[in-house]
């Protein structure tokens, strides 16, 4: 039915993993286009006018449709491809409301804290910038309180919105995956000291779609590590098509 494959413009950040995870759960073929946003490739005039005026990845192209914001992307995949792959959203309005609620909890309660830790402990060192350890400590403490609530919730049901894996769970795994790789004291423990949260994470990590996502995500990370010079984030907005052509990686999803 699809004449052309979907394209996912993708870079080094966990929200890209989320989009890939959604595509893999839906067993959908896509072409991965690597965007080095740290080098400013998401701020070129072309990118801003054609793909995302906010200059961020991921961006999904499905035919003429261009979508950004990972939660809008995954919701679209869940609905447009409802009959394919894993069912990621329940049909019932009340059950769906619970899924929406946990996606909002991710956006408003969990992610601001987790993404700050990721920025301070992963992104900034990569860019050669100094980590703010006061901020790290503050966010670890707040995240601990938030995860207590998750621990209680996951004692009541297998997944956040009930007994089935949904978009609400999917969105949490990529940032948690980054957290579990951190050497900073106490970060891994935020997860591992909580048995229900740990069981939930481990169940999700064994999903075939996740395993495929890790392979792709690690490949993107390797591409980033290969760059010798740390880049300034606020490089001027300019056409870097030459650079983009040299570094854009197009891989087939098999």
């Amino acid at each position: 039915m699809e004449d052309q494959k979907m394209k996912l413009h993708c870079g080094f950040i966990f929200s890209n993993w989320t989009a890939m995870f959604g595509l893999h759960e839906k067993s959908l073929d896509f072409e991965l286009v690597f965007v080095d946003w740290v080098a400013g490739e998401a701020r070129t005039k072309t990118f801003l006018s054609n793909l995302n005026p906010f200059g961020q990845v991921p961006v999904l192209e499905d035919g003429d449709l261009k979508l950004f914001e990972s939660k809008a992307i995954t919701r679209y995949l869940a609905e447009q491809y409802k009959d394919v792959g894993t069912d990621l959203l329940p049909n019932d309005a009340k059950e769906r409301a619970i899924v929406s609620m946990w996606m909002e909890i991710d956006t408003n309660q969990f992610l601001p804290l987790a993404s700050t830790l990721i920025r301070e402990l992963v992104t900034k060192p990569y860019q050669g910038l100094a980590t703010d350890f006061t901020s790290v400590q503050e966010n670890k403490e707040k995240l601990s309180e938030v995860l207590n609530i998750y621990e209680a919730r996951l004692g009541e049901s297998c997944y956040l919105a009930g007994e089935s894996f949904t978009l609400a769970d999917l969105h949490h795994l990529p940032p948690i995956h980054y957290m579990l790789k951190m050497e900073e004291e106490g970060v891994k423990d935020l997860i591992y000291s909580r048995p229900n949260v740990t069981a939930w994470v481990e169940k999700m990590q064994s999903r075939p779609a996740w395993l495929k996502t890790v392979v792709k995500g690690d490949h993107i990370f390797e591409l980033m590590k290969q760059r010798r010079m740390p880049m300034q984030l606020d490089s001027p907005c300019q056409e870097v098509t030459g650079l983009a052509q040299k570094t854009a990686m197009v891989t087939e999803n098999t």
């Binding site: 449709l65 914001e69 309005a93």
Partner: protein, 237 residues
């Protein structure tokens, strides 16, 4: 599903002699504070849908939202919490989405015209995510510095105001371009995307940050349009 609800409510209206029962049957309660932007977001949706509801006041000054019984409704200790019959929810944007879907056929349609089309819905969803990720964090800081701090007798930090206004200006530039193409943020009709912005926009209109709206003609028109809606006026009372 909608049909069943109608039939039930007809039976009840006969037994209780009240033709208002279909609305009253909804049994909607909002646990929040009429001044809080997130509570107002939910009230807006309820007013747009002409739904009857009870607002149970939560005293934020007293820290009522951080204690029981409120914590059992929302363990994260934030207003509002919501009830519709046996459904219990929190997080204002999840509540408004539920209201928009559950009561799709009454009052203002808050979903895109072709809501069953996932591609059209996705465009509205992008707008809702942009409001939550790009607009609200910045705009809320500006409300905190210029409105809430004044209210509790603290001094506005003008350096933070300047920093955040610079960020908001960039977001509003994108909105200006978008609103040149479409009447509203998600297309030609008013949707949840626009609605979610209203409470914080209303607060900012009472601050010098207002200039960021008035400097941008289409944004300025959109602000005027969305804030003059009857529902938008109701939440200010």
């Amino acid at each position: 599903q909608h049909q069943t609800h109608h039939i039930e409510s007809l039976f009840l209206s006969q037994s209780s002699n009240s033709f208002l029962v279909p609305k009253l049957m909804a049994g909607i309660k909002v646990f929040g504070n009429a001044t809080s932007p997130s509570t107002r977001r939910v009230l807006l949706a309820l007013h747009e849908k002409n739904l009857d509801f009870e607002l149970v006041n939560i005293d934020l000054k007293d820290g009522e939202h951080k204690k029981e019984p409120f914590l059992s409704r929302n363990p994260f200790g934030k207003v509002p919490a919501f009830e519709d019959g046996d459904l219990k929810l929190f997080e204002s944007r999840a509540i408004t989405q539920y209201i928009a879907h559950r009561y799709e056929s009454q009052g203002t349609n808050l979903l895109p015209a072709d809501s069953k089309n996932p591609a059209h819905y996705a465009i509205m969803a992008i707008g809702m995510e942009v409001e939550a990720h790009q607009f609200d964090p910045v705009a809320s800081k500006l409300v905190w510095e210029q409105v809430i701090k004044n209210f509790v007798g603290l001094t506005t930090d003008q350096a933070i105001v300047a920093e955040e206004e610079a960020k908001l200006a960039k977001v509003l530039d994108v909105y200006e371009a978008r609103l040149k193409e479409f009447k509203y943020l998600a297309g030609e009709t008013f949707t949840l995307t626009d609605l979610h912005h209203i409470p914080v926009v209303q607060y900012l209109l009472g601050t010098p940050t207002k200039k960021l709206f008035t400097e941008r003609p289409r944004v300025n028109e959109w602000v005027a349009e969305v804030t003059k809606r009857p529902a938008s006026q109701k939440i200010l009372k």
